[in-house]
């Protein structure tokens, strides 16, 4: 992966929405630390999780793609614990449900911001995968970016993938 400079506002939209959702709903202050291009491949991409839980939402309609958020155990427990005002010790069905709601709110907020940029799409129902021993395959012709975040509760990252609207136009971000 290559380090990137965020050139337009799309990735910034996702960053701002993520910070707002976690601050408003979970009382967590998080900061974006770095970004990396996820290289496009004619054969598709295989993304292997390396943290403890992933929530994802698909995009369809005017723009096709997906957004995934992958969190460490500590970050996931702090997030859902903050949302509910209770303490969790392990990743259970409630934590899974809460991380699904987290990515749902991030995707919804980003959708609203991207609509204002003329990019319209529909959201799928949010899903969650618990554990780290799995692989996600992204279709060919997909451009993506990974955004890394940190907070006092732990680390997490977000991966954003789009087809079509970014075909041949590297305006999602720029390699340096």
């Amino acid at each position: 992966m290559n380090q990137v400079v965020l050139r337009d506002g799309i990735t910034q939209d996702f960053i701002e929405v993520t910070e707002k959702v976690l601050s408003t709903m979970a009382g967590l202050e998080v900061s974006h630390t770095s970004s990396s291009i996820v290289d496009e491949s004619v054969n598709g991409l295989n993304i292997t999780s390396c943290l403890d839980i992933t929530g994802f939402v698909g995009f369809s309609g005017g723009a096709k793609g997906s957004v995934l958020i992958t969190l460490s155990k500590d970050m996931a427990l702090a997030t859902v614990g903050g949302m509910l005002g209770v303490e969790f010790q392990e990743i259970d069905s409630d934590v899974g449900d809460g991380i699904g709601e987290l990515i749902n709110m991030v995707a919804g907020g980003a959708k609203t911001k991207l609509q204002e940029r003329g990019i319209d799409f529909e959201l799928s129902i949010a899903n969650t995968v618990m554990g780290s021993d799995y692989q996600v395959t992204i279709p060919p012709g997909t451009n993506g970016i990974r955004l890394n975040f940190n907070s006092s509760a732990g680390k997490f990252f977000m991966e954003i993938f789009f087809q079509k609207i970014f075909d041949g136009k590297p305006h999602l971000c720029n390699q340096v």
């Binding site: 707002k20 959702v21 408003t24 709903m25 859902v80 949302m83 509910l84 005002g85 409630d94 449900d97 809460g98 699904g100 709601e101 749902n104 709110m105 995707a107 919804g108 907020g109 959708k111 609203t112 609509q115 959201l123 129902i125």
Partner: protein
């Protein structure tokens, strides 16, 4: 006062219930989707419903429920676009809250819509 909370996320239903409980509202019923909400909404004084849900989404629920009832409905959703807000309001929603939200906004809506 009876409140119906409709959301496929159990965590989100708990967040809404907690906020309403802290405002003194304790008679709260839950539904996981629009179909279940149609069976329960007849007894409610106000309904908070999500939009994107499996089985029956919130907008379809609103359209169906409005055929027989004028009970206040608040859409509580991540769908914050102008197009979506207008569509919901045209379908019979009384008010609209975009997630994420501050908990006290729920009580403000209840007080404004239920006399």
């Amino acid at each position: 006062m009876k409140v119906l909370v409709v959301d496929d996320s159990a965590v989100m239903r708990r967040i809404v219930k907690k906020a309403l409980n802290e405002g003194g509202l304790s008679d709260i019923e839950e539904a996981e989707n629009g179909k279940e909400a149609l069976e329960k909404a007849g007894n409610a004084d106000i309904v908070f419903t999500d939009w994107n849900m499996p089985v029956m989404d919130g907008l379809t629920f609103v359209k169906e429920f409005r055929k027989t009832s004028q009970t206040p409905i608040v859409m509580l959703t991540t769908e914050g676009g102008q197009k979506e807000v207008l569509e919901a309001m045209k379908s019979g929603v009384n008010d609209y809250i975009v997630k994420p939200f501050q908990p006290n906004v729920l009580l403000t809506k209840v007080r404004g819509l239920v006399k």
